[in-house]
Subunit: 393 residues, 2 copies
Amino acid sequence: MIVPGFQAAGAAAGIKKQGGLDLALIVAEAPAAAAGVFTSNRVKAAPVLLSRERLRSGRLQAILVNSGNANACTGPEGMEAARETTRQAAELLALPEALVVPASTGVIGQPLPVARFREALPDLVARLDPEGLTEVARAIMTTDTRPKTTHLTDRVAGRPVTVAGVAKGAGMIHPDMATMLAFVFTDLKIAPKLLRRCLKDAVGRTFNRISIDGDTSTNDTVLVLASGRAGNTLLKEDSHAVEPFRRLLTQVLEDLATQVVADGEGVTRVYRVEVRGAATPGEARRAAATVATSPLVKTAMRGADVNWGRILAALGRSGARFDPARVEVAIGGRQIVRAGQGLGEAAEAQAREAILAGPFTVAIDLHRGDAADHYLTGDLTEDYIRINASYRS
Amino acid sequence: MIVPGFQAAGAAAGIKKQGGLDLALIVAEAPAAAAGVFTSNRVKAAPVLLSRERLRSGRLQAILVNSGNANACTGPEGMEAARETTRQAAELLALPEALVVPASTGVIGQPLPVARFREALPDLVARLDPEGLTEVARAIMTTDTRPKTTHLTDRVAGRPVTVAGVAKGAGMIHPDMATMLAFVFTDLKIAPKLLRRCLKDAVGRTFNRISIDGDTSTNDTVLVLASGRAGNTLLKEDSHAVEPFRRLLTQVLEDLATQVVADGEGVTRVYRVEVRGAATPGEARRAAATVATSPLVKTAMRGADVNWGRILAALGRSGARFDPARVEVAIGGRQIVRAGQGLGEAAEAQAREAILAGPFTVAIDLHRGDAADHYLTGDLTEDYIRINASYRS
């Protein structure tokens, strides 16, 4: 997985208690146009605060990311640790410190082991490689069971342009992001402001429409760096090539977001909740989110139980206005509720087949207005409990 | 458990698939002052709609309640079934139909088996007994593992007054109530309007401050009936005896609500989330609710893991305004977070002991204002999943 203009490497620095790759470095050959979207949680980790600050210039050249320790709720010492580790990397790379951003994921509230960074960094820099992005995908995993990468190439502004990304997810996945890191790289030449607009739009359609457990984290970060190596003329706001790039970027984020849900803690079934016919876009989103995050709906899906009463009960508490006697629900294309009432066992048996068969859609029509929205989510299983009841021990 | 003026009985009517008591009748010897509070869910079950309508008069004489079928999302037929079953009971009791209310809990979306009511009712009426309330507590159980009853006597308006209640809970427990039924009986003589005000106040402090899974249901109902048999002069708005009664009623509801949480689906640990120092009462409530319903906090409690980072992350997404660097958290009286940072392993070990020891409090100070609120909740366990993934099968 190569993106012209970028090199990367991962290392086992001893930050994760259980060992394994836990530190990674991605470096652009020159200052890249950069944009980021961060957690909306009021409690923000030190690396989030520092990255946000350094992103103001619209230019970055390196990302230093670790797993095993979130460097969150660590006070002024945590902020200094974030600065110190990026300073170490900047020195070894002979770059201005302001062009290097940190990112962290893992346990909250424990001091970042700065010495481990110092020990591991020289070798990490020495091993930087254009093929290194797949190693990054593995180094950022926490309770993830598989690395998440995606790589697309398409014509943008008359040139073949690559957009590739890595992500980590697992628990605390919820709109307005979660313990979720995603790094996306492209060789497109683009103005930072435009890159930022495209990123915000794409995150809104993808990462902010997924949910594992309704919890959001202190560390969520999506960064995109553009090296400009594709050879196109600089992409600006009014270019007709903006739309193809926006689509390509959205596709990459959508693919990563789907991988994050599918590998959500304990998830065995992935499903998309689609709401239409809502009175307002806000109500459409709330209705979709409430159904997608309902523990009773999630556990019903776990049991492949076509328990549409729980779906209606979730809609009923969502705040969306609708007449219960007009609601329609379909699962996997099979209608199971019409005019607010169940269509019987044969319909439910077919819907159950769809649940058992794999990714499926729960389609809801509120018959109240024209607004629509959706969420991608997964079932809630015994394994979610097992993973989270023992995360730190 | 006797409340002067009331008789009750339970029966196995064959409504529950698995058998057992599933129908109960409570009858007052004369029309009683009555008040009710119902689910805020937009999808309301037929018995909720009918009870609300019949409660307008402020007088009731009988409650007919079944488990095993919620009679929710059952359309006009469900409404007719609710009317028909209360009509049957009213005829056998020789009462006006308008003085009998229905209540149902169980599976959503299946027709109420009216014929089973008809078969069981004559014997149920014949067996009405002043000691019958404990049988009611058993007849309304669904996934509850134990019946919930409470019985208090205190002096009100110069007379010994009894307030007793039965409740059922288990899943779908969340503020603004849940698949939760509670019936409270008293021999106090009180005006219906005042009874209603006391009930709303007491529910706000008790049942609307508990949460199992954040889901709310279509059937929640709290009813209180006052027979007037205590012999006091009619309690009115301006009486100094209102406060003692309000306290007594609140105590009964608090006791029932605590039993409901302790017997929540899969719950092994009960804890109270207390937030103080919030900017506004609304923010205090949201902060307490968000911590109380966070799956990551709940699973941490399951593992007796003093994972205060998850508590801070939940506060951070609650919408409450605060400075993360000023937050304090204590568990079981042991402070574990000061100025937004952890106090180390010794403190956490003591907090862990408190979690293991039994009911405990998670006390949070946001240091932002003067508002406070609380929630009572329980941990999230593998059993919750097991129970809910297989509820209908």
